[in-house]
Point group: C2
Chain length 474, copies 2
């Protein structure tokens, strides 16, 4: 892949297209060099444009297409796979200023937003309308455009599905600069191949999203959370399938080892999880949330859950049934990544998915790599949907070079094991540039070539986020 | 598009691949000439193979690819858009014998089936496990492979979404004969472009599905149905958005005019719908189902619904709260198409979708075409998701030629109006060969070319169901 340089003339043109919002050279904020995973590269783009409309995006893309310059769409930069890094130079199109919730359509239960609206802002705003936007990724300050581009999953995927299940329609700028709409407001359509679904998870390689119409649901009237301690992680995770075997439908179902809970509570300076139950040390926990239409219904579900988990090794069940208690119960969980980051100076991550009943086996196996590679490995996960986040952490005086070498082998082993167990490379963080080589191994030549073929159909000059998802940038 | 003829040698090879299950010439059952909409063509294929495995499909496809012969995958032939008609000759691959429910995975709440399993068979079998397969298309004797290929919607789409929302993984034979798997059992994945989603609704043009892994949910413990009469159709349909504005979540929400209810009840020889309420003639109805976890919850919802509908013009609310009563309430609805078919010797259909709040306006406009074209037009629809089924019916001594000419103009007007209102060509029946020209007008050149490009990536020799979805067969 050969691209042209962004010349001073092109910078001038960008400044005409987006006056006061086009930056180059030293004007570019250092944040634009990386996403949340600094380890995946430090490359400042040649230019950044903070766009405010589809028309601006169209003008920039047309120019880039004509001049053969990469375009990298970027939301809040909270990605974890290097998807928004300008690995091959070029122009970053930042959607941070396209952050308006445009309109609700309460008769159709949809909301139309600009792609730079933050998940947290939509979540809070929808709640004011008595509505819920079900996807609930851990990172609340990601943009919705970014969520759609990685098909972000989150805590509630076990009951409500992932971001793609809530995208009804979108406005997209194609690499030609043409502005098109895909999908429509209503839930049903069978009118040719689904462009909406193809765009979800395509990480900016096929088109640039400039507007989204998302599905909402009535907000469940009541919720309750349960903290359930177990003696060890294996018992905790082995209990998970019993929720489904007993037809319980948790909104969220997370597992966590005691070590990570303690790390997070120390980071938060607040303790909520019981550590000793009737003289037995708790080694792991399940954290569960249910929603429902009334308190009686939830009481009944909690009782049923008690029966199920006590039969399967739970030490106790702690009920959080007020908004404050629920917030406290989830406080530690929501700071896991931050706590891990605070305790290490560099980390690498995998977010594999495996079938629910393989989680314990997989996670225990992953922990054995600690001894093999003399490296700290920490993790937690969405037990309800088989998605694990596992981190290899650089500690002590290990050099960055040694860390990079080891973590490459660790990731290679982890992905191979996940595939062997019937899993996939990424549950919700996407492929970016950092996982392309692992996806290649997992998907194989046929599927990679189909992806590359689709990419070629949309973007024959390969200017949209080159070197990501299905193409190498090295 | 130029294809080769199926020679006697090829027939011999097919008979070796599938002994006793490969048919040609007069051995071919006349049913294979058409789908449920006979008006869309009567073309016997050159050969039919009733396959029993992915390996057989692979061998046939390889042969066809080599010899440049069309392959037309076919389930139960209940389609309504001509998708399974061998418009250009070739080999029909019938999945009728691949009708085994292979296994349930109760820990992951999934079921793995062969593509020829009938919707009805899975629905009943899942119920025995205490589980629900939420998609509920009107035609219960369609195959699941066909449902996936058209992204069939059905009655429960308003709450639970369409078939695509329940497809986790599939085994597919590509046009090269290679057997691949797409997706996996768990709900989360962000590992490149979604092939599973691309296959859903692609009507056999990209690959042939030989196995499906579908998501199930715990069966709701209680359901209740309501028949709600109104003075006229406009009042009935105008009431629909108020369900959502009031955060009610029906599982199904259908509208129907009195004329079609009477036709259907006459056909069934059984009357269930009230015709006169307190001296007022009922001109239209909403038929609603709710599900929930207990009777109290549903009683509360019924009461709320009563308040909402009485404020919006309902004449009364009739509650069906036992399995027998619910079945009776839905009996007329489930026979609409059969009743319309019985009353006419030929019909043409559109299943447009429009935003929920445009349904009344659209349907009333469609009825004005009766006078304009002197043709009977009947319809009903899924009020909850904006999907209408409207039929132009040949009556009296109208010639087939005159009917074809008129209905072409009627469909043209209907689709143009739907698009103008922000709708799409097909809600759930698909494009087949009969609606390609309307999709072309609606989607425009850019989107049609993207579809054709994707088709070309998967099927460069264009042997899979040619002349369907994005390509003309004329």
């Amino acid at each position: 892949m050969e691209f042209n340089k962004v010349t001073p003339e092109i910078i001038e043109q960008l400044k005409v297209i987006a006056p006061g919002r086009a930056f180059s050279g030293e004007e570019i904020n250092e944040d634009y060099a990386h996403d949340e995973m600094r380890f995946y590269g430090q490359q400042l783009p040649d230019a950044v444009v903070e766009v405010t409309s589809a028309e601006e995006v169209s003008a920039i893309v047309k120019l880039a297409n004509e001049k053969n310059i990469p375009i990298i769409p970027r939301g809040a930069g909270t990605g974890l796979a290097g998807g928004a890094v300008a690995k091959m130079g070029g122009i970053v199109i930042s959607t941070v200023r396209m952050n308006h919730i445009k309109s609700y359509d309460l008769g159709n239960l949809t909301v139309t937003v600009e792609p730079g609206v933050l998940l947290n802002d939509l979540a809070q705003d929808a709640e004011k309308q008595g509505l819920l936007y079900p996807p609930d990724p851990g990172e609340k300050f990601a943009t919705l455009g970014g969520n759609v581009s990685t098909n972000a999953g989150g805590m509630r995927a076990v009951k409500y599905g992932c971001t793609r299940d809530y995208v009804r329609a979108m406005e997209v700028v194609l690499p030609t600069g043409e502005i098109v709409t895909f999908g429509l407001k209503v839930p049903k359509t069978s009118s040719g191949y689904s462009f909406v679904q193809l765009m979800c998870g395509s990480e900016g390689t096929l088109g640039i999203i400039t507007e989204l119409t998302l599905k909402l649901i009535p907000k469940p009237q009541e919720t309750v959370s349960l903290i359930i301690p177990f003696e060890d992680l294996e018992t905790a995770i082995s209990c998970v399938p019993h929720f489904f075997l007993n037809k319980l439908q948790p909104q969220a179902l997370e597992f966590m080892g005691r070590d990570i809970v303690e790390m997070s509570e120390k980071y938060l300076e607040k303790e909520n999880f019981p550590k000793v139950v009737d003289g037995v040390e708790a080694g792991a926990y399940l954290l569960v949330t249910y929603d429902g239409s009334n308190r009686d219904q939830l009481d009944e579900i909690c009782e049923q859950t008690g029966e199920v988990v006590f039969e399967n090794g739970a030490l106790d069940v702690f009920v959080a049934d007020t908004p404050d208690k629920i917030r406290d119960a989830w406080a530690a969980r929501s700071q896991f990544l931050e706590a891990i980051q605070a305790a290490t100076d560099e980390l690498d991550e995998c977010d594999v998915v495996v079938p629910r009943d393989k989680i314990a086996e997989y996670f225990n196996w992953a922990l054995t790599l600690q001894d093999k590679y003399h490296m700290a490995i920490r993790g937690f996960g969405h037990a309800g949907d088989g998605n694990l986040h596992i981190y290899a952490c650089k500690e002590g005086d290990m050099s960055l070079e040694e860390f990079a070498g080891k973590t490459d082998q660790i990731m290679d082993e982890m992905y191979a094991k996940a595939i062997e167990m019937g899993g996939e490379i990424s549950g919700e963080h996407g492929i970016g540039h950092s996982k392309v080589k692992f996806l290649e191994k997992a998907a194989g030549e046929t599927k990679m070539n189909l992806m590359r073929g689709i990419k070629q159909v949309f973007d024959p000059n390969n200017i949209l986020n080159p070197g990501k998802v299905c193409e190498r940038c090295d």
